[in-house]
Structures are given as structure tokens and as C-alpha cells.
């Protein structure tokens, strides 16, 4: 079964490859290096097909969802504040469903 390749594979010089590998700290033998050249040309080609339309104000690609702040107990006048355990989002009390 023939499947269309995304595009022609980019080339890379031995010096460029040596530079990239040196940044990883990996120690490769010649066979491993040859395999990596093959793989890198393919991954690089795929990465090259991804659009880079940059609209800075619209970039929500990386989002961190922090749990909501735990509700603070209302201060009590003339008495001790009741200690409460911090709430965990989604945690249920009582019997488990299962």
C-alpha cells in the first residue's frame, strides 16, 4: 500500500547533525547516528508542515488549570473559627459510588 508522503524530506549536513547531537549529550555509534539522521529528517519534515500563524494575543496553547481557592471560613465574632480541611476539586465525601 502506497501512502502519500507529507513532503520531500529536508537534508541535513554532517556538521549540522553533529551540532544537534552534541546539544543532547547523547553518545551514538555510527549505526545509531545513521538511524537518527533518517528519523530526524522525517520528524523535521512533519514539524515543517505545521502552520505557524502567530497571533500573540490569542495563544492559549498551554493552559494551567489551578484548583479554585478553598473557601475560607467566615470569621466568627466572639468565638473560635472552625477549622476546615482544604477542599480538593472533585473529591467526594461519604460513600464511594463504587
Amino acid at each position: 500500500m502506497t501512502v502519500r508522503a507529507p513532503q520531500t524530506l529536508p537534508s541535513i549536513s554532517p556538521a549540522e547533525m553533529d551540532f544537534l547531537i552534541s546539544r543532547t549529550g547523547l553518545t551514538l555509534n555510527s549505526g545509531q547516528r545513521a538511524d537518527l539522521v533518517l528519523a530526524w529528517r522525517q520528524v523535521s519534515a512533519l514539524a515543517g508542515t505545521i502552520p505557524r500563524r502567530t497571533v500573540l494575543a490569542d495563544d492559549f496553547a498551554v493552559a494551567f488549570r489551578l484548583p479554585p481557592p478553598a473557601a475560607k471560613p467566615a470569621p466568627r465574632i466572639g468565638g473560635k473559627a472552625k477549622a476546615t480541611a482544604p477542599k480538593v476539586e472533585g473529591a467526594k465525601s461519604g460513600k464511594s459510588k463504587r
Partner: protein, 495 residues
């Protein structure tokens, strides 16, 4: 091997009892739903069922290489506990149902290797949350199943264990990475299994091995205790002979886990109950561009799709053509994210233990170390766009269908280390788009080419059904009704 005189099965008795309920099924070939009914009625005992499966594993695993570790002692202990629960009238749908788990799911006190020399001696101290829930539901564990190394590096022949073989033709590829799960379920070595799916690793073996496999909506099933491949895409899910069985398993494993940061506190449905609702009136979109243009289907796969569309129309579904971005666009995003995240997960070991990994793993992961942060963020940014674009399609359709692969299982020896880079996976679409997706057996090829030549039947062809986020019950429901109407569940591999 544990021996227990009290647990020794009487010759052929469980088989005879099982056939009374389903004349075509011996215990290893019972579905989870069928076995559950027989167990609840005490027509078969959990201990007898486990013994029948252990015997089959002993006979066939040397050929299929589906199990890396067989946990006979734990299986029998679980079966005895299930027997007590049934006698006490406390049985649930999974009480006494023997299961097995991909060997990236950690099991306390039981070796968990990820099919890698790097973890060959790894004995975890905790059990994956999904396995904990299934064990609590009464399911005995038969053992740990083959995988591609760390769920990506395979099939490999330079590891301590050989790759799993396809039960329909042992010369053929199971698909991966949940290779042992696909082989074991299809061959009747266990009634159900767990797999993981980052780019298609549940659904590809489901397609090539002719079973059902569900990649749930991200966040529905806990990944705690599952060795990660690419955390922003990883999911864990059920694999079984039928969509109904996947629903029964999902009922046990779905639900919020505060210890998995990606787990979402959403109400879970009763999936096994929900799938019985009719599908009449559902809007089905056919992703013709995927298999007519992007990943051209073989003539037999195209014919399977034509029949599948006819089956869905007969069920009362409204079927029209649907359009999404190309498979290549999803695949590029998925491959860049997987390469980058997998390299990051393994970087420390790659610097010191590189030669212990398989060649396939190195080819598929090392290039991630050369990617730039800008490439990775571009992929994540594009993923967000693709999620939104794909979700838009579900304003017009309830489910989208496509073949899971271009054709039937290829030869094992023909697999290339760089598979997935130049050859896009249709299954990766659902991972990138964060959708639930099930693969069910859509049909079979007419004639087998190559392979061991021992069997005359055809090879399975997988139908993929995708739904909107949190539409897990809908894809299970369509898969269930399709299986019932298409009649693809009556044939097992001849081993």
C-alpha cells in the same frame, strides 16, 4: 505454578455448561457479558473459568507471545474470592471475569517491564488505579501482556521477549502498541484487557486482531500508575471481544481520580445500560477524504466501508459525507508531540543506557531530542486549533466513521522502525482532537495472502467510530448496534 486440588476443573464440565447458554462458545470464547450471566447463575465457577484460560494460555502463549508474565497464583486467588462473593450474593458484572493488562500498567509486587530491558527487573510498589478498580470489582488478573517497548518501540526483535503475533495469522502484525492485549483477547486467552492509546495503540491492535477497543475521552479514565509515553496525549482504555464488553469494563474504570492531574470530575454514565438505546435517527458522518485520499484504502477495506454504511442506514442512521482537515495534519502534530514528550520522559536513561533500548524505540524517540521548543509549541498550538475544528463537525454529526487502517494486518516482518512518520495513522486523529473513539470489527477479507497459510478464513478489518468529547456512550452504542447487525462477532481465529 500454584496447585490447588479443590480448584482442579472437572473435565469438560464448564465447557458443557457454557455451551448450554451459548452453543458456540467454550469458556475462553465467552464474552464478558455472557460469562457474567453464567457466573451469576452459578452455571460456571470463576475457578473453572480461570483454569480454562490458564490452560489455553499455557498451550498458545508459546506461539502468540501475548503474555510476558502469567500470574496464576493471583488469578486463582481472585477467582476464589469471586466465588465467595457470588455465593454471598454480592456479585457484580465483573465478578470472576478474568482479565489481563498491558505491561505498562503497574502492579504492586508483580514485575512491570514495559517490554523493555530497562525495566526488566522493575517491581512496582503501587498498582495502577484502573487495575485497582477492576480488582475491586472482582476481576481476577491472569497476567501482564506484551506491548511495544514503552508503548512505542515495536515490533522489536532485539528485546528479551519476542513481539506478540496475530492469532488470525501468526505471520502477521498485531498492531500496536497494545499488541499482547489485542492478541490475547482475540485468541481467547483472557476475556478482556486494558491498553493505552497515545496515537492509536488500543485501536490499531483492535483493528488488526478483530476485537473492540475504546480510546476514551481524555480525563475520563485515570492514568495513574500507567507508565507514560506522551502525557498530553496518553489515554488508558478497555479492549474486549465486543463493544458491550468494553462498556462493562468502562463502567468499572471511568471516574474521577484526583491523583491524575488530567482526570476530570464529570458524571459517568452507566455505559453498559446506555448502549442498548436504539441508534435510529443518529447522524453519521463518513470521513471519505481519510480513506479515499489521505490513506487510500485497499479494495477490501473500501468494500467493508460500503457494507458498514449500508448496515448503519438499515439501523435508521442518517449517513452523509463529513469533512475534516487531512489525516496528515493531525499526524504531524501528533508525531511532533509524541517525539518531544517521549524523549523528555526517557532522556536520563537514554544518556546512560541507550544500548538497552530496542532499535525501533531509538528510531522513533531519539529525534525528539533534536526538536526545538518552538516546534513543540507550534504543534500544541495547532492541536488546540484542530480540537476546535474537529468539535465543530459534531454540530452536524453525532459520530464520524472511517476505516481504522488502510487494510488488514500486514506481515510482521514488513514493519519499519520509522512507521508513523511517513505513513500517517488515521487513529491519531482522535488523540490529537481529544475525542472518544472505538474500533470494532467491521468485516473480513475474502482471502488471505501470505502468512502461515494454515487457515482459510479472512483477516479482520477495523471500523473506527469517533464521537464528540464525552460522547463515549454514543460511540459504544453505535459500535454495539453495528456489531449486532453486521454479525461480525461469530468468528474466532482458528488456532
Amino acid at each position: 505454578m500454584t496447585t490447588d486440588p479443590q480448584a482442579t476443573p472437572k473435565a469438560d464440565k464448564p465447557i458443557a455448561k457454557a455451551k448450554a447458554a451459548n452453543p458456540d462458545a467454550s469458556p475462553p470464547f465467552l464474552t464478558i457479558a455472557e460469562a457474567g450471566r453464567l457466573l451469576a447463575r452459578k452455571k460456571i465457577s470463576p475457578v473453572e473459568l480461570v483454569h480454562a484460560l490458564l490452560s489455553r494460555i499455557e498451550a498458545l502463549n508459546p506461539v502468540l507471545h501475548a503474555f510476558l508474565t502469567i500470574t496464576e497464583t493471583e488469578a486463582l486467588a481472585g477467582a476464589r474470592a469471586a466465588e465467595r462473593a457470588i455465593k454471598a450474593g454480592k456479585a457484580g458484572p465483573l465478578t470472576g471475569i478474568p482479565l489481563a493488562y498491558k505491561d505498562i500498567f503497574e502492579t504492586a509486587g508483580i514485575r512491570t517491564t514495559a517490554h523493555s530491558r530497562v525495566l526488566a527487573e522493575n517491581i512496582p510498589t503501587a498498582t495502577a488505579e484502573t487495575i485497582r478498580r477492576l480488582t475491586a470489582a472482582g476481576a481476577p488478573m491472569l497476567g501482564k501482556l506484551a506491548t511495544h517497548e514503552f508503548a512505542i518501540g515495536g515490533p522489536s526483535f532485539d528485546l528479551p521477549w519476542p513481539p506478540a503475533c496475530n492469532p488470525w495469522d501468526t505471520g502477521r502484525f498485531t498492531g500496536g502498541s497494545s499488541s499482547g492485549s489485542g492478541a490475547a483477547v482475540a485468541a481467547g486467552l483472557c476475556l478482556g484487557a486494558l491498553g493505552s492509546d497515545t496515537g492509536g495503540s488500543i485501536r490499531l491492535p483492535a483493528a488488526y486482531c478483530g476485537i473492540a477497543g475504546l480510546k476514551p475521552t481524555p480525563g475520563l479514565v485515570s492514568r495513574r500508575g500507567v507508565i507514560p509515553l506522551a502525557p498530553s496525549l496518553d489515554t488508558a482504555g478497555p479492549m474486549a471481544w465486543t463493544a458491550e464488553d468494553c462498556a462493562i469494563l468502562l463502567d468499572a474504570i471511568a471516574g474521577h481520580d484526583p491523583a491524575d492531574p488530567a482526570s476530570v470530575a464529570v458524571p459517568t454514565t452507566g455505559y453498559a445500560r446506555a448502549i442498548t438505546a436504539p441508534v435510529k435517527g443518529l447522524r453519521v458522518g463518513v470521513l471519505r477524504g481519510f480513506f479515499e485520499r489521505d490513506v487510500p484504502a485497499t479494495p477490501e477495506m473500501a468494500a467493508m466501508m460500503t457494507k458498514a454504511i449500508a448496515v448503519l442506514k438499515d439501523l435508521g442512521c442518517k449517513v452523509e459525507t463529513a469533512v475534516l482537515p487531512t489525516v496528515h495534519e493531525y499526524n504531524a502534530v501528533g508525531r511532533v508531540i509524541i517525539s518531544a514528550e517521549a524523549y523528555a520522559e526517557h532522556e536520563a536513561n537514554l544518556k546512560t543506557r541507550l544500548d538497552e533500548y530496542s532499535r525501533v524505540f531509538r528510531v522513533r524517540v531519539l529525534a525528539g531530542g533534536l526538536l526545538r521548543a518552538a516546534d513543540y509549541l507550534a504543534a500544541q498550538r495547532r492541536r488546540a486549533e484542530l480540537i476546535a475544528q474537529t468539535a465543530e463537525a459534531f454540530t452536524k454529526f453525532d459520530v464520524l466513521i472511517t476505516p481504522a487502517t488502510a487494510g488488514a494486518a500486514p506481515m510482521l516482518a514488513d514493519q519499519r522502525p520509522d512507521e508513523g512518520f511517513m505513513l500517517p495513522f488515521i487513529t491519531t486523529v482522535a488523540n490529537v482532537a481529544a475525542l472518544p473513539s472505538i474500533v470494532v470489527c467491521g468485516g473480513f477479507t475474502q482471502q488471505r495472502k501470505g502468512g502461515d497459510g494454515k487457515h482459510g478464513g479472512g483477516l479482520p478489518l477495523g471500523l473506527e467510530i469517533m464521537g464528540p468529547a464525552w460522547g463515549d456512550a454514543t460511540v459504544l452504542r453505535v459500535g454495539h448496534h453495528f456489531e449486532q447487525a453486521a454479525g461480525t462477532r461469530g468468528v474466532r481465529p482458528a488456532l
